[in-house]
């Protein structure tokens, strides 16, 4: 393994943008990817993430801005002179060459004379040694994907770019390949930049995730940080599910911001609010469905003090094995989702039941109310 271990380099994009005619695919963007990290660009299709990746590879000329690898400006270099390699969506394996020659392609183009040892080692790494003489179309999707990774990694790139590499695989295989890619990245230590629309994939694999929307980076951070403290409604909705409640700010003087939504008082630690809260103005209070506890209205007295509590009525209950997903209509907000682990199920929690929803105020997050509450949801996407 140490044979192919390399040190990755950092990637720095400065003011990079791309426009096609009047359409702006990527707005001027600054991005810094530390050496050796697993970085994910996450977003819905058409958000500019693939264009950004292609500009790093040199397959797309940026309209403005620069690309730097390890401090060296490579903006003007053609793709074949950049020390980066790409794993393409749908792999782009050469159909007229066998697996061995596909993997050897990059080495041969750089004039490496004896490629056998390296190719054999590489095929061993991706567990395809016995298929070396097959043609790509004779391989399964998962095998083709591993060939694509091998073909790129054998060149010891300073940065490996992955363009939705797992999109064509079925769910089970995708999970397996996610772990596989993560293992390879840890072993070879190369900087990985991974483009995906699958938020779970991004969170499982990446150290740092940049959520992109309409050609801009909405938020950048570690997966847990993005999930627990989204800064925009898009991130809150795109990354998992969020309940967003519009509330009036009552008091901002203490450690907790006090709010009111429909006669219900809510609290939110000031540190958990990324927007500026002003008394008398609106704020969005977000809470993840799994952070909410459901208690039947008859037991409302058992809810401990100090928790945010709102009342509602269950409209739907979906049993999905490990958990049950409830939809609750409340005067405060319609259609709140609540996920409850199936540990001790309360049989009374069925559609029609009156319930109290309560959560630790510290699990909530505050967002600027001036943005669309629907951004990043399926409904919000259909609208844009």
């Amino acid at each position: 393994m140490t044979a192919i271990a390399t040190t990755g380099t950092d990637v720095r994009l400065t003011g990079i943008s791309k426009t096609y005619g009047s359409f702006t695919a990527v707005h001027p963007l600054d991005l810094s990817v530390p050496a050796g990290s697993f970085f994910a660009l996450l977003g819905a299709s058409g958000c500019g993430k693939t264009t950004t990746l292609r500009m790093i590879a040199g397959l797309e000329d940026p309209t403005s801005g620069t690309v730097e690898l390890a401090g060296r400006d490579v903006t003007a270099l053609p793709p074949y002179k950049r020390p980066v390699n790409t794993v393409f969506q749908s792999y782009a394996l050469f159909p007229h060459l066998d697996i061995y020659e596909n993997v050897a392609f990059g080495l041969r183009r750089r004039g490496v004379k004896s490629v056998k040892k390296q190719v054999d080692d590489m095929l061993e790494l991706v567990q395809l040694g016995d298929l070396a003489r097959r043609k790509p179309q004779q391989l399964s999707g998962g095998q083709q994907q591993r060939v694509a990774v091998a073909r790129a990694l054998i060149n010891h790139p300073q940065v490996l770019l992955l363009d939705e590499p797992l999109g064509a695989l079925d769910l089970k295989l995708r999970r397996q390949m996610q772990l596989e890619l993560k293992r390879i990245q840890t072993e070879v230590g190369i900087t990985f930049i991974h483009v995906t629309h699958d938020q779970e994939e991004a969170m499982t694999m990446a150290d740092t995730v940049a959520v992109m929307n309409a050609g801009r980076v909405e938020q950048l951070g570690a997966p847990a940080e993005l999930y627990e403290t989204p800064r925009t409604t898009f991130v809150a909705n795109f990354l998992g599910t969020s309940n967003l409640i519009a509330a009036d700010v009552l008091d901002t003087s203490g450690d907790d911001i006090l709010l009111r939504a429909c006669d219900t008082k809510l609290a939110l630690p000031a540190t958990r609010c990324t927007a500026t809260a002003r008394t008398g103005e609106k704020l969005l209070v977000g809470i993840r469905p799994e952070k909410i506890t459901l208690t039947h209205a008859d037991d409302a007295a058992s809810v401990p003090d100090g928790r945010n509590r709102i009342t509602g009525r269950i409209t739907q209950a979906g049993f999905i094995g490990v958990s049950t997903q409830y939809l609750v209509d409340s005067p405060v907000a319609p259609g709140l989702s609540v996920y409850a682990q199936n540990i001790e199920r309360d049989a009374r929690l069925a559609p029609g039941a009156e319930v109290v929803l309560h959560w630790n105020p510290g699990h909530g997050f505050g967002l600027d109310a001036a943005q669309s509450i629907e951004a990043g949801t399926d409904a919000g996407e259909a609208g844009t």
Binding site: F88, S90, A92, P95, H96, R109, A152
Partner: protein
């Protein structure tokens, strides 16, 4: 009673297939059989007796082999010219957006759609007005003209269906534009180019109408056969026909054998 019906029902496809095959093969069989004939008189239309005279002396008839070699030379050059030009045109049409692209695309198809005799006459008019003397070069130019559309069609289809990411992948893997073209684009387009070339050769070799209009006093093999049919048909024509058929069948067999072995390995 039911068993013959059932047998027929089960084997109808095979019978129809064999019938069609016989329909296609029969003319070739007749040509081959009559290449071993020794006719009385000038016409080789009635079976007299077996002889290998024509096979041992295929060039025994005046001008026959001359016209054959001329036809072969024209076919080779026309194939080469049409394939090189047609491949370049196909790439231009498939890859680049330029003004008048769609009109060029339509114009390229015209020779295929136009009645051959119209194209023949108009080419002859053109050459005549330009004062070009008819002969080898006018035939060659005419052949390249009509072969071009077939090459463009075959290659364009192949280039259009090629994933543009393959070339990007090659560039990403350190191949310069020239290496990308030679190592990836050309090999993937090759089946289309080969198909266009084969089609060109066959079309050029047996073209009569366009050639007849633009040949002047030059005589190609199809013109020779046509001309001699007025005065008598030498057995040697059957010999050449049979030999060409054999070569074509051999080529197909070799291609299939090579393809089959590649698939198995």
């Amino acid at each position: 009673m039911t068993s013959p019906v059932r047998w027929l029902r089960r084997n109808l496809v095979v019978i129809a297939g064999l019938g069609t095959l016989a329909y296609l093969i029969l003319p070739n069989v007749i040509v081959t059989v009559f290449s071993f004939n020794k006719p009385n008189g000038r016409f080789n239309y009635e079976w007299q007796r077996f002889s290998t005279d024509a096979w041992t002396d295929p060039c025994g008839v005046a001008d026959l082999c001359g016209s054959l070699s001329l036809s072969l030379r024209i076919a080779v050059w026309a194939t080469l010219g049409a394939t090189v030009l047609g491949t370049m045109i196909a790439f231009a049409l498939a890859r680049h957006r330029f003004r008048a692209r769609s009109s060029v695309s339509t114009l390229i198809f015209l020779p295929m759609a136009m009645p051959e005799v119209v194209m023949a006459a108009s080419l002859a008019t053109l050459f005549l007005n330009m004062g070009v003397s008819f002969g080898f070069w006018t035939i060659l130019i005419a052949h390249i003209t009509f072969c071009l559309s077939f090459v463009v069609t075959a290659v364009k289809a192949r280039v259009m269906s090629m994933d543009p990411r393959l070339e990007q992948a090659a560039q990403d893997l350190y191949a310069t534009p020239l290496q990308t073209f030679l190592r990836v684009t050309l090999p993937i387009a090759a089946p289309g180019i080969v198909a266009g070339a084969l089609l060109s050769f066959a079309l050029s070799f047996d073209d009569f109408i366009i050639t007849n209009f633009n040949a002047g006093s030059t005589v190609t093999f199809p013109m020779y056969v046509w001309g001699s049919a007025q005065r008598g048909t030498p057995v040697q024509i059957n010999v050449i026909g049979t030999a060409m058929f054999a070569v074509a069948v051999l080529c197909v067999l070799v291609a299939q054998l090579v393809g089959g072995r590649r698939k198995r390995s």
